[in-house]
């Protein structure tokens, strides 16, 4: 991660006032809510007419009362002047009275409220609920005799308050019967707020429920029908997604399966998808699926796509690892020791020069060799002054490693069937300064004919399908078939028997055979070893490598020799080297 380039540096465009200047404005309420608290509503013409009428009536009423009082006063009793009212509503009445006198603004509000019974029955009879409004309580009627019976009026307003509380709020908004004196528990805006909150709460709950439903739906993987499988080609991304889903289903099959499809349906779907995504042929993918667990399979496939790190082996015949590392670092190569297990290996992380063309390379100070290729030679553990055979040597990496360990003593037979590839062996041996070699081009199976019981150790890096080195040669993915594997392991068995026949069991130092392949298939590895164990007087011994996965004791229908755990397997995803198999055998008799 580099620093971000500031291409527009110095051109700072100010985009208005800063963050702090952006103050929230005062809230704006809709007019409906704040409306008519203080300002009077404009009246319609009908209302105006009624108002006039009412005023006239009132003035008449007042005059009547005055005349009555005059009459009483003439009787000579000292009495408080009171309108015929109930004591409880006294103040209320007087308020309204005043307002009436002032300019008749309020009556408009109170008027609409009238819903109760306005006749003489109102003392005991009360309206049941809003909906069941009786005929006598109509507004018209109210209007007509509202002020003629003031006591009714007030009484009704009280009942109305109760009613309006019970009724739904839409009414509240419509008829602004807001009465500051009586309605003291909640403001309408507060009521509305409470209502909104309730509504929101419910919405939230619904959303939550829906979400839960969605989640449970997502987990459920739907098996694609055959129709849409056949006619829509999917993108790689979709295929990958489906691979993950199917693996998830298979890992918890009991709970996540769909009842219409069996496990084999799921597995075949997965196989198809994996073939599409990683472009393997079905046969090889099936083999790999039998070999690995699902989670491991993905890792294996994934790491088979990636190249292993470039490793080089120091040629100890010409230089030491420290000197070589120094020389290469001076040329701008970034490297590190390959690991504790090897004293000659170096990993190259990056290089400014081509690693296969430096003067050090040409002078034979190192050669480029995969880390996995060190292993069979280390397992073979050659000694000085031994006779050693490398049956399929090309291009001579392992064989030259043997020669280097033997320090050019004894004799090393490097054989390969392929005349074109044997040239690489010649080139490498001369470049690396191997002088104790005999390079031949023979069929390995013919070796026992010419030199039976001759060698102390034999290395057989058998020709194989190469399923462990897919990253190096991706053509393996599609080119291999059952018959190829069969041919391979037949040849391997013959070669291994030939190798065993070449070894002298009475050798004072040796009598060992190392068998290795760059394949991960048990047919080419454990099965071949098992065959040799049955056919010859050999036993498996420890490879002495100290790491690697143990070989299989059983694989599907095959049951191998119980000492098969002494063999070692190496995987790209586990050991970061090519897929590899190493087994070391000791021969016990020359029959």
């Amino acid at each position: 991660m580099g620093r971000k380039a500031k291409f527009d540096e110095g051109v700072i465009v100010k985009k208005g006032p800063g963050k702090k200047a952006k103050k929230q404005k005062d809230p704006i309420f809709p007019k409906k809510l704040i409306a008519s608290d203080d300002e009077p509503k404009t009246l319609s013409s009908h209302q105006k007419k009624r108002l006039k009428k009412r005023e006239e009536k009132q003035t008449m009423l007042l005059e009547k009362r005055k005349s009555k009082q005059m009459n009483k006063g003439t009787k000579g009793t000292k009495k408080v002047i009171k309108p015929p009212l109930k004591a409880t509503n006294d103040s209320k009445y007087s308020d309204s009275e005043e307002s009436l006198n002032e300019g008749h603004v309020q009556p408009v509000k109170t008027r609409k409220k009238k819903r109760g019974f306005s006749d003489h029955n109102n003392e005991w009879l009360q309206p049941k609920k809003q909906k069941t409004v009786d005929a006598p309580s109509s507004d018209e009627a109210d209007d007509s005799d509202q002020l003629s019976e003031p006591e009714d009026n007030n009484d009704d307003t009280v009942t109305m308050e109760k009613l309006s509380d019970l009724s739904d709020s839409e009414k509240d908004q419509e008829d602004d019967n807001y009465n500051p004196d009586s309605d003291d528990d909640l403001l309408p805006i507060e009521k509305q707020n409470a209502k909104l909150k309730q509504k929101q709460l419910k919405e939230d709950q619904d959303a939550e429920a829906e979400l839960q439903l969605n989640i449970s739906n997502q987990v459920k993987f739907e098996f694609p029908s055959e129709v849409d499988e056949s006619n829509d080609p999917k993108s790689l991304q979709e295929v990958q997604q489906r691979i993950r889903e199917v693996i998830a289903v298979l890992s918890d099959f009991k709970n996540l399966r769909d009842n219409n499809h069996s496990r084999s349906d799921y597995v075949s779907l997965l196989k198809q998808d994996l073939c599409t995504y990683y472009s393997y042929n079905e046969f090889l993918m099936e083999k790999l699926m039998q070999l690995f667990q699902l989670s491991e399979l993905l890792e294996f496939l994934e790491s088979s796509e990636v190249q292993r790190p470039l490793t080089i082996r120091t040629n100890t015949l010409k230089t030491r690892r420290r000197d070589l590392a120094q020389a290469l670092i001076n040329r701008g190569v970034n490297l590190d020791p390959v690991g504790k297990w090897s004293k000659v290996g170096l990993v190259v992380y990056s290089s400014q020069v081509p690693m296969g063309a430096t003067p050090e390379y040409l002078a034979g100070h190192y050669l480029i060799q995969g880390a996995s290729s060190f292993l069979p030679v280390m397992a073979l553990a050659p000694q000085e002054n031994e006779r050693i055979l490398d049956m399929s040597a090309a291009p001579g990496g392992k064989a030259s490693h043997i020669a280097a360990i033997m320090k050019n003593t004894g004799v090393l037979f490097a054989n390969d069937l392929n005349r074109d590839r044997i040239k690489a062996v010649v080139g490498n041996f001369h470049r690396l300064g191997v002088i104790n070699s005999v390079i031949s081009c023979l069929d390995g199976r013919k070796f026992p004919e010419s030199m039976p019981v001759f060698f102390d150790r034999v290395l057989l890096d058998a020709p194989c399908t190469g399923t462990g080195v897919v990253a190096k040669d991706p053509s393996v993915k599609t080119s291999k078939d059952e018959i190829d594997i069969q041919r391979c392991y037949n040849l391997q068995r013959q070669l291994l028997l030939a190798a065993i026949d070449c070894v002298n069991a009475k050798s004072s130092t040796g009598g060992y055979i190392v068998y290795s392949t760059c394949s991960v298939l048990p047919e080419e590895n454990e099965w071949v070893i098992d065959y040799a164990l049955k056919k010859r007087n050999v036993k498996l011994v420890d490879t002495g490598l100290g790491f690697g996965t143990e070989g299989f004791l059983k694989y599907r229908h095959l049951r191998f020799h119980p000492t098969m755990n002494l063999t070692r397997r190496f995987y790209p995803h586990e050991h970061n080297m090519d897929g590899f198999f190493v087994a070391k055998l000791k021969k016990f008799s020359n029959v």
Partner: protein, 180 residues
């Protein structure tokens, strides 16, 4: 595998003498084992006796190489040294030249060494004597023929050739196919 004929042995040793002079003796009379020159298909191999014996078990048609290949006899009967002989030439060389790292690459691509690329040269080198070419860090890079004697080199102009190219280790990748 057969012994070299008298004539061919003479030609071979004459050639080797150009590079390593009297040190040929070191090649033949070794304290560790008996080493000998053998010929197969006009190629000359230098190998120890015990290995040679074991190699005889393999049919000559299938035998590709034994020990170290020094070179081959051409159809016209001359001997041509191969780069593979460098391992033995370098330690016994009489006349050596060291080339600068800037000229290294040039030489490894098969070019002659010019005065500009010359880092060092051993004394009393004669004209047309066989020389082994080293890098400044004493890495043997190949061999050739001195175009000028040491004294002449001192007065030569920078572009003048001081060593004709014969063989270099770049051949290991340039022409792996016909190394032998």
């Amino acid at each position: 595998m057969k012994r070299l004929s008298e004539e061919r042995t003479k030609i071979l040793f004459e050639k080797l003498a150009k590079y390593i002079g009297p040190n040929i003796k070191q090649l033949i009379e070794r304290p560790d084992a008996i080493y000998c020159f053998r010929e197969q298909k006009d190629r000359v191999y230098y190998v120890s006796e015990p290995i040679l014996k074991m190699a005889t078990t393999i049919h000559p048609d299938n035998l590709i190489s034994v020990g170290t290949c020094f070179g081959k006899f051409t159809k016209s009967g001359k001997f041509k040294l191969h780069i593979t002989a460098l391992n033995y030439l370098a330690p016994y060389a009489q006349c050596k030249i060291w080339i600068k790292s800037s000229a290294e690459q040039q030489f490894l691509y098969g070019n002659n060494v010019s005065k500009a690329g010359l880092g060092r040269i051993s004394e009393n080198c004669e004209k047309y004597q066989g020389v082994v070419v080293f890098s400044m860090s004493d890495l043997p890079l190949g061999f050739g023929v001195a175009a000028r004697s040491t004294t002449e080199c001192k007065s030569a102009d920078p572009l003048a050739v001081v060593c004709f190219h014969q063989s270099d280790i770049g051949e290991y990748i340039r022409s792996e196919e016909d190394l032998l």
